[in-house]
Assembly symmetry: D2
Homo-oligomer: 313 residues x 4
C-alpha cells in the first residue's frame, strides 16, 4: 500500500448526494458541494457514507458519484469511500470498483444480515484488507449494523495493519474513550474519528483525531474553526463554536414522525438547498421527503443562527 501514511485527521465530512427531481444523481450540485467543502478547509472527504445515502444506490451509481467527487476534488484532499455491502466477497467487488474510480481508502462495517461473532468479524476485515490496494477503515455504527465492534477487535486489527482507522458512530462515549486509551497504549496504530457531531469539542479533548460531521454539508467552516481551536488548546473557543454549531444542528429536530433517514439527511438536504449549496432536496430511494412546513422550520433555524441568506458560492 503506497498510501499507508495517508491521514484523515481533522474534519472529514460525509459528502451528501444531491439528486435531481427524477432521483438521478445531480452531478452539477455534487461537484459544487465538493468545491464548497474543500474550499472550507476540510482535511478529507468521506464519500458514500450514511449521509451520502449510499445504501440506496447501485454500484454503477456509486461509481458515478465517486467519479464526480474525485474529479471535483482534483487530488486536493484524500477521499475515503464507503463500501457498504453484506459480506466480504460482496464488499470486495464494490471496493475494487470504488478504488478504480478514485478512492484513496475504503471504509466498511461488520457484515450485515449475518449472525457473526467478533472472531468472524475480524476475519471479515482481514479478508477485505487482503483483497484491496488501499487502506481499510472500520465503521462502527450499531444503530445501522446492530453489532458493536469491540475494543479488542479494533486494536487487534490496527496492530496487525489490517485497518488504518475507525469511524466511531457507536453512541458510546465511554467505549470511545477506552478505545483512545488502548490505541495510545498500543503505539497509536489507528486514527480515530468520531461521528458524534454535537460533542466534537469534548471528543477532541478526549483524544479523537478528527470528526465526520454530516451537518458540515450545511456549513463546514465552523467545524474547521472548532478543530483548529482544539488543536491550539483553546477549549473555550472550541466549546463556543460547538455550541453555535449545535444551534444550527437543531435542523434535524424539526421533522417529526418520520423515519431516521428522512429526518437526518432530509434536514441536511433541505438546509443545503436553502443555502444554495445544492439545487434540489430530493431524497434517495423510497425515503419520504420533508413537507413544506418542515422545510420552513429548517430555514428558520438557519436564519436564527445567521446562516441565511448565504453568500454566493
Amino acid at each position: 500500500m503506497t498510501t499507508a501514511s495517508l491521514t484523515f485527521a481533522g474534519v472529514v465530512p460525509p459528502v451528501a448526494t444531491p439528486l435531481l427531481p427524477d432521483h438521478s444523481v445531480d452531478h452539477t450540485s455534487l461537484a459544487r458541494l465538493v468545491e464548497y467543502l474543500v474550499d472550507a478547509g476540510v482535511a478529507g472527504l468521506f464519500a458514500l457514507g450514511s449521509t451520502g445515502e449510499t445504501a440506496y444506490f447501485t454500484d454503477d451509481e456509486r461509481v458515478a458519484i465517486l467519479t464526480t467527487i474525485a474529479d471535483a476534488n482534483a487530488g486536493r484532499v484524500p477521499i475515503i469511500a464507503g463500501a457498504i455491502e453484506l459480506t466480504a466477497p460482496r464488499i470486495i467487488e464494490t471496493a475494487r470498483r470504488l478504488t478504480d474510480a478514485g478512492a484513496d481508502a475504503i471504509v466498511t462495517t461488520a457484515p450485515l444480515y449475518t449472525l457473526n461473532d467478533q472472531a468472524e468479524i475480524a476475519d471479515h476485515f482481514r479478508a477485505i484488507a487482503a483483497a484491496i490496494d488501499v487502506p481499510l477503515w472500520a465503521y462502527d455504527v450499531p444503530v445501522r449494523v446492530h453489532k458493536k465492534l469491540s475494543l479488542e477487535l479494533l486494536i487487534q486489527l490496527g496492530t496487525e495493519g489490517v485497518i488504518q482507522g475507525v469511524k466511531d458512530s457507536s453512541g458510546d462515549d465511554v467505549g470511545f474513550r477506552r478505545l483512545i486509551a488502548a490505541n495510545d497504549a498500543a503505539g497509536r496504530p489507528l486514527q480515530l474519528l468520531t461521528g458524534h457531531e454535537m460533542v466534537v469539542d469534548a471528543m477532541l479533548l478526549a483524544g479523537a483525531d478528527g470528526v465526520v460531521p454530516g451537518v458540515a454539508n450545511v456549513e463546514a467552516e465552523g467545524y474547521v474553526r472548532l478543530f483548529e481551536a482544539a488543536a491550539r488548546g483553546d477549549w473555550d473557543a472550541a466549546r463556543s463554536e460547538q455550541e453555535r454549531i449545535n444551534r444550527m444542528f437543531d435542523i434535524v429536530f424539526q421533522p417529526a414522525g418520520l423515519s431516521g433517514d428522512a429526518t437526518g439527511v432530509g434536514a441536511f438536504k433541505a438546509a443545503m438547498k436553502a443555502r444554495g449549496l445544492i439545487d434540489h432536496a430530493t431524497m434517495a430511494g423510497t425515503v419520504t421527503p420533508l413537507d413544506d412546513a418542515v422545510v420552513d422550520k429548517v430555514s428558520g433555524v438557519l436564519a436564527a443562527v445567521g446562516l441565511l441568506p448565504v453568500a454566493t458560492v
Copy 2:
C-alpha cells in the same frame, strides 16, 4: 405475471449450499441434495435463504447456485429465491439475474442498513414488485433485519397484489396468529409460511399454509408426514411427528459459544454430511467451522433418533 397462481403451500425447505473444502460451491452435492428433497415430497424449494448462506455469496455465485438447483429440480416443484440485498435498486438487480436463472418467485426483506418507517418499507416492496416479472414474497426475519414487518403493511401489500406471501421468522407467534386472522378477513390474498420449525404442528393448527424448515435439509420426510397429518386433521399424529423432529433438531444445540450462523447452519451441514447427503460440511465466508467433538455430538443426536446410518441416496 403468468405465475400468479403459483403456490408454495406445504413443506418448502430452504436449500443449504454445500461447499468444497476450498469454499467454492459443491455443485455435485447441491444437485444430490435437491434430488433428495424433491424425492421426499416437498412442495417447493426456497433457494438462497439464510440457511443457504446467501449473504456470503456474490451475485455470480448466487446465479451459479440457483442454476444448479433449477437444473436438478427440472421443473418438478416451484422455486422461490432470496434476493437479499440492501435496498430496492440493488435487490432488483439481483432479483432479475435470479429470475433469468430459473427462479419462479422472489423473496426479500425490508431494507438493510437504512432507517426506514413502515410507509417507506411498503414503497420498497412496491418498487421491487413493479420491476420484476415473477411473484414477490416478503421475508420477516427481525433477528437479521432488525425491523418487524407490521401486520397492516403485509395485509395492505397483499391486498394490492404487491406480495403473494410471507415467510414468517419473526419469533412472534401471537403476531403470526393475528396475521392469519387478518389475512382470512381480507379474503386470503397472502400465503403464509412459518419458519418456526419446532412448532409447525401448532402453527398449522393456527392456520399456517406451510413451513420453511432448515432442518429438512437433514431429514425432509418427517415434515412431509407432519404436513399430511395436519392436512387430514390428525393432530395427534402431527404432534408426535413434530416431537420426533424436535429430538433431531437438538443437533443445533450441540455447538456452544459459536456465532448464530456457525451454530445453526453448522449443525445442519455436519448432520447432512454424517447422513451422506453432502460431501463436506464447509461453511461459507468467515464462519467458524464446528470442531470434531461437536460434530460427534451431532452424529450422536442423529443416531439416537435412528437417522444414522442413512440408506444410500
Copy 3:
C-alpha cells in the same frame, strides 16, 4: 410445604383489580369479579399479576386486594399471588404478607433493576423458596423484566424442587416448546402455563398445562370450553373457540398511541365495565384512561361477537 401437590393446570386467569373513581380499590366489584370467574369454571386464580396492575399498589393495598379475592373465593380454587418486587429480600417481605392473607402459592420474576446472570437469578429463586411456606412459581416476562429465564435455569430449579411451575409470557414459542420437551425428559417437575392468550389452542397442542389469560376477565367461559376441547383431543373445536376469543381480543387493538399498560389493561377494564362485571374502568397509578371514543370501539368489538348486552351477573 403441605401444598406441594397443588396444581394450577387449566384456566388460571390473572384477576384484574377494579378501582373506584378515587383510585382506591373497589372491593365490591372485585368480589363480584371473583365470583364470576369461579362460577365460569376456572382452575385457579392468579392474583396481583400484571393484569392486576400489582406494580402500582403498596403492600398494604396488595394485602387488601388479596384478602378480598380469598374471601370471595372461599377456598373453591387455589390462589397464586404475584410478589413483584426488586430482589429476594424485598420479595420475601411481600410474599410472607400475601401468604398470610391467603395465597396458596407465590409467583415472582427475576430481579428488577439489577444486572444479574443466570446463576445469580437461580440463587434469587432459591433464597425466596427457602423463606416462604408455599410453593414458588417463576414468571418469565422479558417485556417487563428485560431478562429471559433460561431453559436450563428453569429445569434445574424444577428438579431441585425450588419452583413448582412457570408462567411463560416470554413471547418465544420455540423456547416454550423446548421447555415442554425438557420438562418431559426431566420427569415433569414443572407445571407450565402459557400467557399467550391468542394461541392457547396451539400451545395446548404443544403440551402446555394451562393458560393465564388476561381477557378471561372479560369472558372466561370461552377459555374453559377451549381447555376442555383440547383435553378431549377435539382440536378443531379448540381452534374454533380460540378464533372466537381472538375476535373478542381485538378490544386491545382499539386504543392507539397509548402506553402498554393503558392499552391492554385499559381495554380489559373498559370491556368489563361494558359487560357489567365491574362498576368503573378506573386505571391504577398514573396510567392514562381510555377516552370515550375508544371505549365505544371496545364496546363495538364486544357487540360484534355477541358479548353485549351481558346477562346480569
Copy 4:
C-alpha cells in the same frame, strides 16, 4: 421546600455499602468510608444508588444504611438518597422513611416493571414530588430501567419545579449535550450530573454541573482535582487527571464472565478493601463474589497507578 436552593454541583460519589461476611451491613466500614469521602472534598453524597447496591436491601436496611451515612457526615455535605422502587406509591413510602432518616433530597427513576409512556412517567414524578418534603431528582439509567427519560420530559419537570436535577447515566453523550443546551435555554432550572465517570473532563467541558463517580469510592481525590481544574478552565490538567483515573478504572475490566453487578461493584469493593477503606468485599444479595485471581488483578491495577499501599485512613 426549605432546601430548594440545595446544590449538588461538583463531585457527588455514590456511596458503596460495605457488608460483613454474613451479609449484614458493616456500619463501621461505612462510617469510615463516609469520613474518607468527605475529607477528600466531595460536594455531596449520593446514598443508596446502584453502586450502593440499594436494590438488594429492604427498607429497614436502607434506613439503617442512610442513618449511618448521615451520622458520619454530620451535616458537612448534603445527602441525596435513592428511593428505588416500582412505582410512585411505593417510592413515596420509601422516600418518606429516607427523608426522616436524614436525606436532604431524593432521587428516583421512571417506574420499573410497568409499561408507561412519557406522559405517565411525568405524572409519576409529579406524584412523588407532591408527596415528599425535600427536592426530587430524576435518575436516567436505561441500562437498568429500560426506559429513557426524554429531554422534553426533563425540561418540563424542571420548569415546573417538580425536579431539581438529573443524574444522567443514559450512555448517550449527544442526548446529554442537548439536555445541557435546553436547560440553558430554559434558564437553568436543573442541575445536571453525569454518571459517565470515564469522560468527566469532556462532560464538564460540555457543561455538566458535576459527576457521580462510583470509582470515587476507591479514590476520591482525583475527581476533586479534576473538577477544580475544569472549574478554573485548565482543561489539559482536567484531561490528565481523567486519564490517570481511567487507568485506575481498569479495575472494572479485570473480572470476566460475571454479571454486571458482580463486575462493577465487585471491582470497586475489592479495590476499596485492598486500600483499607473497608474491611470486607462482601457483595449484596445473591451477587457472585470475585475470586482471588481477579482480586489480585484488581490490586495489580491499583499498584500500577501508585494507589497501593494506601496511607492509613
